[in-house]
Symmetry: C2
């Protein structure tokens, strides 16, 4: 692996862009060079905050000293912005949801391959230490044969997110924004993709899905049962059931603490072990590390979130929306 420093640019100047900028600046192998926004004042302010250059998109993308561009605009712009960056020959880290639908995702994947550049969905939770350790433990038989996952992920969306998240013109809705976390968590832990999907959603006043339930069946026979909402506080919880025990992971989405209950196939819990891992305050650091590692190694996609997996996730969400008869106005 090379020791070269990876030089970053960011498209978008919102809350998530701030978090990624901070993560890049905390990573030894990365350097943040520039930000771009459609709103010049926002680019200027963001640039001043991080001591970097601020500009419009074209100016940033034409710079030859930027290796990788992080796209952190609203969902509806992911496709256009990422395509523009790829067309400029930049590697791209694209905020989740990767695109609005699978057709867009396929086009970006094709374009990245044509251009021979790196492309990755910024599904940062897959890179967190607790998630990675838990997957290793499950693969080693921590709970015996896996049988079922139950995951709740719901909260009232804070006011500064609410307008965007509930706006169909911005590709809002709980599934693309929040449901994707338990879905990717399940695929990640199981190392496979669902073959049978059922789902049910309720829609709010603005016409996007605000409450949703997903049932998934995997090739191994494991079933996954997910509840999610952007308009309801739920008890945060992932329960991972196996033949010999189960794991409780209350803050599965970004937490660093989970509990393994061993029952050896009976109804009595024989032992409970708590695992608590150190984790960087800014959870984006781990995906920044992975991007830098891939670029240094010349890898065009990450084995932790391969493009085929990203495409499959978009297809899954497409199929559920189709079942609900839910299309975005611009689709």
């Amino acid at each position: 692996m090379s020791t070269e420093v990876i030089r970053w640019g960011i498209l978008g100047a919102g809350i998530i862009a701030h978090k990624l900028a901070s993560a890049v600046q905390q990573h030894d192998g990365s350097e943040l060079l520039a930000v771009a926004s459609r709103t010049p004042a926002k680019a200027t302010e963001f640039a001043a905050e991080f001591g970097i250059d601020g500009s419009d998109y074209d100016t940033l993308l034409k710079r030859s000293d930027i290796d990788v561009v992080y796209v952190a605009t609203t969902h509806n712009f992911h496709f256009d912005n990422a395509r523009l960056a790829l067309q400029h020959g930049k590697s791209v880290l694209l905020e989740k949801p990767f695109t609005v639908n699978a057709a867009q995702a396929q086009q970006l994947i094709d374009l990245a391959r044509e251009q021979g550049v790196f492309l990755m969905e910024a599904i940062w939770t897959r890179f967190l230490p607790a998630q990675a350790q838990l997957k290793e433990q499950l693969d080693s038989g921590l709970v015996g044969d896996l049988r079922q996952l139950n995951i709740n992920f719901g909260a009232f969306v804070p006011p500064h997110y609410e307008t965007r998240l509930k706006d169909p013109n911005l590709a809002g809705g709980v599934t693309l924004d929040m449901g994707i976390y338990p879905l990717t968590f399940a695929n990640f832990l199981l190392g496979e993709r669902p073959v049978d999907v059922q789902s049910m959603a309720e829609f709010g006043a603005t016409g996007v899905d605000e409450w949703a339930n997903y049932l998934l069946r995997y090739p191994s026979g494991v079933m996954v049962n997910i509840s999610t909402s952007c308009s309801l506080k739920m008890k945060p919880e992932a329960l991972i059931y196996g033949s010999q025990g189960y794991v409780e992971f209350p803050e599965f989405q970004q937490g660093n603490r989970y509990v393994h209950h061993r029952h050896d196939g009976g109804n009595e819990v024989l032992a409970s072990d708590t695992y608590e891992l150190q984790r960087h305050d800014n959870g984006f650091v781990y995906q920044v590390e992975e991007v830098a590692r891939c670029l240094a190694a010349g890898e065009l996609e990450s084995p932790v979130i391969p493009l085929a997996e990203t495409l499959s996730m978009m297809q899954l969400m497409d199929s559920m929306r189709a079942d609900w008869g839910f299309r975005y106005p611009f689709e």
Copy 2:
């Protein structure tokens, strides 16, 4: 209401019959007169244990001093045994699942109405004090507008139940035996019946459903998400989510303790109140009281579990089994 004593007979001499017999003997307004079994030795032993008469079915049903017959045979015999009792003009308390399918249920309901006798599904959990109090509180707005219920109900079946529960010839399977509890709990709390149902099940070596997930949508827009298994220890839990708070009821099926978390529409829990109710050790006492009350009052069905509700539950389970392509050998 009359003060007459209700005189009981029991068909079946298994574990559940013992529990009901004990409940009847603990109820002041009831008297247990006789038990009947297809196996004479079991009837004799049971009769000796409770100080009552033991016989075959016909002998018991021909007695004019028995008001109500509790049917506690295996699922596959519920229909035949209950029909026989109704044909003899007896009121009937029929162990859940009421029958194997809705067609059988409809026939029994029709017969009871023709005979002018009382008939009730022995879904005893609806009569427990904690369930009744919780329903009243939810109706009074304890959690604001109800939005979603998540219920887990799974355990490894004890060996003495396992053979019966996993035998398709005895109408085994997790749905008819265990899934019915969270289903009836949801219908009971919501006071309505699902209009949209999706489900997914996995089948064990004997060919019955051993793991199942149900998604239900109710006319009010509430969604209910249930996981159940007879071959997996699950964390016992009912979570009842509303706009202003949620209730955690860990042992919803027969427990007497639940916790209300108030958040007033935000993500922070502002207060948690625990409710713990006294409850008779033998939880069947409450349904015995209800049967006695109905009979004394001349009511032919219970308002807590009306026959239309019982029929609807059988139709619901029929429809899920149809979706899975699962029929019992004798159907």
